[in-house]
């Protein structure tokens, strides 16, 4: 049963991956072309509307929180820039300093959202960027929400849930029963519940926050999905039991000489699991944003407000789909993590299934 379900989840994820890969190259290519476009863009000079560059600007991270450009002036929230260089140590600035003129301040230059140092040494950028700020907001939101939920349980001990507690309870129970218990098994699931629940709600809330106008694209950032995927990889492999490792290094029921081929394949498979997690979430969320922004860009490309009659409803429709994708991707990430953990902690042996 659970096997069947994970196949289905896998099929869905492969499909989404294929779609997102097809939709991406064009935009990447455009970005390469743009060169210095961003610098001119940030000066707000009158120029041809460039949808590719605008979309990428919205999808990518930045060192300030840019909300709107009204005529010549930019409405942006400055964020702290934290830089470390081996030669100069740690420096903290306001991002305001880098968003005017040549983007040069105190020996550091911001170009294309990348910092370079005057003295040529490597700059390690630990700035609180737009994504980090949004990340912090989501963390605060999650803590606020689930502390309220917890207080609900403390207040109404053993009684029916109420308010936000009853809004969240079905999801918590769903993750516990249908994901953790189902994929990891009765014996081990409890240990992994905190991680699974946090992953699910973290991805979900960041997906939702990303849909807000002017918001950051946290879960559509490869660094974020990479970190989550690596954490899953670490958890899976640190909990791998005998069955898990023998399936990688000594596949039962396979002739010994075949292991020369099988073991590398299995090792690649082991790495592909978190890699697919990383790419799937990143690609789905980013693709969704690109679709929405592309639709809206049509109005500006054709310079026709009348087009919004068609584009508007379609954008609303796509946003609805994105709302679904927001929870779906959170669910898929959690389910796949749970199924990988389930495979790692599995103890009994299936001799029949190879």
């Amino acid at each position: 049963m659970s096997r069947n379900r994970s196949y289905k989840a896998l099929a869905i994820s492969i499909l989404t991956l294929v779609f997102s890969v097809f939709s991406s190259p064009a935009t990447f290519a455009q970005h390469e072309h743009e060169g210095h476009a961003e610098a001119t863009h940030s000066h707000g000079e009158a120029e041809e509307f460039n949808p590719g560059q605008t979309i990428l600007h919205h999808v990518a991270d930045e060192h300030q929180w840019h909300l709107a450009t009204i005529g010549e002036s930019h409405l942006a929230i400055p964020l702290p820039v934290i830089l470390y260089t081996p030669t100069r140590g740690v420096h903290v600035y306001s991002s305001k300093e880098f968003y005017h003129g040549s983007g040069e301040h105190d020996g550091f230059t911001l170009h294309h959202e990348h910092f370079t140092s005057e003295d040529g040494s490597t700059v390690y950028d630990f700035s609180i960027t737009k994504n980090v700020a949004s990340l912090i907001i989501s963390v605060i939101l999650l803590i606020t929400i689930f502390f309220a939920v917890r207080n609900g349980y403390a207040k109404r001990q053993g009684k029916a849930p109420k308010g936000i507690q009853s809004a969240m309870e079905p999801f918590v129970i769903f993750i516990r029963d249908e994901v953790a218990k189902n994929y990891i098994g009765e014996k081990h699931y409890r240990r992994f519940l905190p991680y699974l629940l946090t992953v699910f709600f973290f991805i979900w809330i960041n997906n939702l926050l990303g849909l807000l106008p002017g918001a950051a694209n946290v879960t559509g950032n490869i660094a974020v999905t990479l970190t989550l995927a690596v954490l899953t990889f670490i958890i899976v492999n640190f909990n791998g039991r005998k069955t898990y490792w023998t399936h990688i290094f000594a596949m039962p029921g396979v002739p010994k000489w075949m292991l020369i081929v099988m073991t590398p394949v299995e090792i690649v498979g082991m790495m592909m699991k978190p890699f697919s997690l990383m790419v799937r979430l990143f690609a789905n969320v980013t693709a969704g944003h690109i679709i929405l922004l592309s639709l809206l860009s049509l109005i500006f490309i054709f310079k026709s407000a009348a087009l919004s009659v068609i584009v508007g409803p379609f954008t609303v429709f796509m946003t609805m789909i994105e709302l679904l994708v927001a929870v779906l991707q959170a669910y898929i990430f959690t389910v796949l993590t749970a199924s990988y953990i389930g495979a790692a902690v599995e103890e009994h042996h299936h001799d029949d299934h190879h």
């Binding site: 935009t27 990447f28 970005h31 390469e32 990428l56 999808v59 990518a60 991270d61 934290i82 294309h112 959202e113 390690y124 950028d125 630990f126 700035s127 609180i128 960027t129 994504n131 980090v132 990340l135 912090i136 963390v139 999650l142 803590i143 689930f146 502390f147 939920v149 917890r150 349980y153 403390a154 001990q157 053993g158 009684k159 309870e169 918590v172 129970i173 516990r176 519940l193 905190p194 991680y195 629940l197 946090t198 973290f202 950032n221 490869i222 660094a223 974020v224 990479l226 970190t227 989550l228 954490l231 990143f282 980013t286």
Partner: protein, 164 residues
């Protein structure tokens, strides 16, 4: 290729904040929430179990009551039957005794009557004999005087004897 190049700073902050979130939520939210949930589930299960047990007990009790009632009815019937039988037996015995007594009484009466009868007969015999002797005596005494008068006299005496 900025889009698919993970930036070091974001990885760092994501790691820091996500691990912080896992820790904080794990300790202060998931643990109490999950334990409350399982407690509540357990209490609901217990309540259902209790209701089921109570229902079974009630059914058991009802069955017991019914059985006791049925037993009591059977017992009542048995007692009534026995009482009826005893009464019948008593009546029969009494009837029997009464009949025997009556029979004995009749027998006694009959016996007494026979004795009386026998006594009366023997007394009559004696009286008759005595009268016969007296008549004979008187006849013998007057025999020669008047033959016709004699005959009238015998008839007279016989008349008397009959009345006696």
């Amino acid at each position: 290729m900025d889009l698919i190049t993970p930036s070091l700073g974001l990885i760092f902050w994501q790691l820091v904040f996500f691990l912080l979130l896992v820790f904080v939520l794990g300790k202060y939210a998931w643990r109490p929430i999950l334990s409350s949930l399982s407690e509540r589930e357990k209490s609901i299960e217990d309540a259902i179990e209790l209701a089921k047990n109570t229902r079974n007990e009630m059914a058991q009790l009802k069955a017991d009551n019914d059985r006791a009632k049925a037993d009591a009815l059977i017992e009542r019937d048995a007692i009534l039957k026995q009482a009826r039988q005893t009464a019948e037996k008593m009546i029969a015995t009494a009837k029997n005794e009464a009949a025997q007594e009556a029979k004995a009484e009749i027998e006694k009466a009959r016996k007494a009557f026979r004795e009386e009868q026998a006594a009366a007969v023997s007394k009559l015999k004696n009286e008759t004999a005595k009268i016969a002797v007296e008549i004979a005596e008187k006849v013998l005494r007057r025999e020669l005087s008047d033959k016709n008068a004699q005959e009238a006299l015998v008839n007279d005496w016989l008349q008397d004897a009959k009345l006696n």
